[in-house]
Symmetry: C2
Subunit: 265 residues, 2 copies
């Protein structure tokens, strides 16, 4: 279970990190408590400050600690919000089973005692290769992207982007740079393109610099990425890519008579 080392002891900073991890798991500091300052750790363990920083780096990159300049280093503690992924397989006839207007999410959040706000924008760009492929387009074809930037209690929460074939969106309210009343689903329904099926791909990866900046997340927090391709009988309708800061939510999929005993502590 350990990486082989030629008899050599583990490096100081790793042993230091392991000891801090042990103390954290032993509950030596609770909640969002402050850890000893770097100078104290330096003295306590008898190492150079750089070594202390290397050790703390490890725990920061594991998502256990956060550093705040001028204040200190703290235990991370984040509430997690369960976000229902609308696959809702038991409601096959229902139109909003595959996607839902933002009102649904706003209501879901309010039920959980949280406040969800949404910024909207629309842009026309060349399709990413994977989006082009999923929509059955030639590479670099233009797509209309309708984007929702969601904040939960003022905190950046998710970025949802719907990608439409330019030809499909042209001349429809999908070109409007504002949310469609009732959601894009309403618009698609009026065009006779109600979505009847979907495939979701779930992935996780570290954020790039822009994503880290927008989400206001530091090292150690991955993104959870949901890529949904919806279809109607004529073919693919849109690609919906939603990115979540993984320390702020989980996605929930249900099937059958699924009951959920309650949130995870």
């Amino acid at each position: 279970m350990t990486i082989p080392r030629g008899g050599a002891p583990a490096p100081k900073y790793q042993r230091l990190a392991a000891d801090l991890r042990r103390r954290i798991e032993a509950g030596e500091w609770q909640g969002g408590a402050q850890l000893p300052v770097e100078g104290d750790l330096e003295q306590h363990y008898g190492v150079a400050r750089n070594t202390v920083r290397l050790a703390v780096d490890v725990l920061v990159n594991e998502g256990r600690l956060v550093r705040m300049q001028g204040k200190g280093t703290y235990l991370k503690q984040q509430p997690v919000f369960d976000h229902r992924a609308y696959l809702a397989a038991r409601l096959p006839g229902q139109r909003d089973a595959l996607a839902a207007p933002s009102e649904v999410y706003t209501r879901e959040a309010r039920t959980a005692g949280r406040r969800l706000t949404v910024d909207f924008d629309m842009l026309v760009v060349r399709a990413r290769p994977d989006v082009a492929q999923r929509l059955g387009l030639p590479p670099d074809d233009a797509v209309v992207v309708r984007r929702q930037l969601r904040l939960l209690d003022r905190e950046p929460y998710s970025i949802e982007e719907s990608h439409y074939r330019a030809g499909l969106a042209a001349g429809t309210p999908l070109m409007d740079p504002e949310p469609a009343p009732g959601g894009d689903e309403q618009v698609l329904a009026a065009m006779g393109r109600s979505e009847t099926s979907a495939v979701d791909h779930l992935a996780a990866r570290m954020p790039g610099p822009e994503e880290a900046a927008w989400f206001e997340i530091g090292p150690g927090v991955p993104l959870l990425v949901q890529t949904r391709v919806t279809h109607d009988r004529r073919g693919p309708v849109r690609v919906i890519e939603t990115r979540y800061a993984a320390d702020r939510c989980r996605l929930v999929y249900e099937v059958g008579e699924g009951r959920e005993p309650g949130p995870r502590p």
Copy 2:
């Protein structure tokens, strides 16, 4: 989109990281190519070696680079394997819709031209708080954990753990320290506890040290964690937690007549 700074320029190592990121995205190095060695970067940019290392740290933690001691620093490139999550809502009557014996996964891998091998073990432990809650047990109650360690082409791939109430598993083949022929589903069916519904929670987080060691992943690679609670009419049956190295697979959920145009490049 940028973190505010009081007129001060970004630190050297961040500018260096940004420049390397730009060069990477510009395609200056392809595939798994080797980057210039630290000494060269030090000279080229006119900074101390530590500053070079801080910059490379950033890109390693973003999952873009891997460092190999004694060899060099390389662009990361990983094939991604799509793993079908067995929700299969369109086959409501089918018993293996909520879980499947490992043969199913082995076959799925072989279809993709990959080889899946599985190690199995069984242990009895105190339930984690979240598992106890989902199974409706008092905290610290004993649970039987049946664990499958999966390798894809010899590479660590996933850890799947089924947690059963001790009382449910007692005196059944679920206590055997080996895989049940036909899967645990077969055993449950014989006990009259066929699973009819499930709730999945999807999360992402960074691995702890043991997980990083087992998966042989370095910094910058999160885990994708699927937590499935299955039910029959009498209540919760088991908690299945599956952890994946996120650079090696994605999870796929389908509903309706879902068609998938093909894998992402």
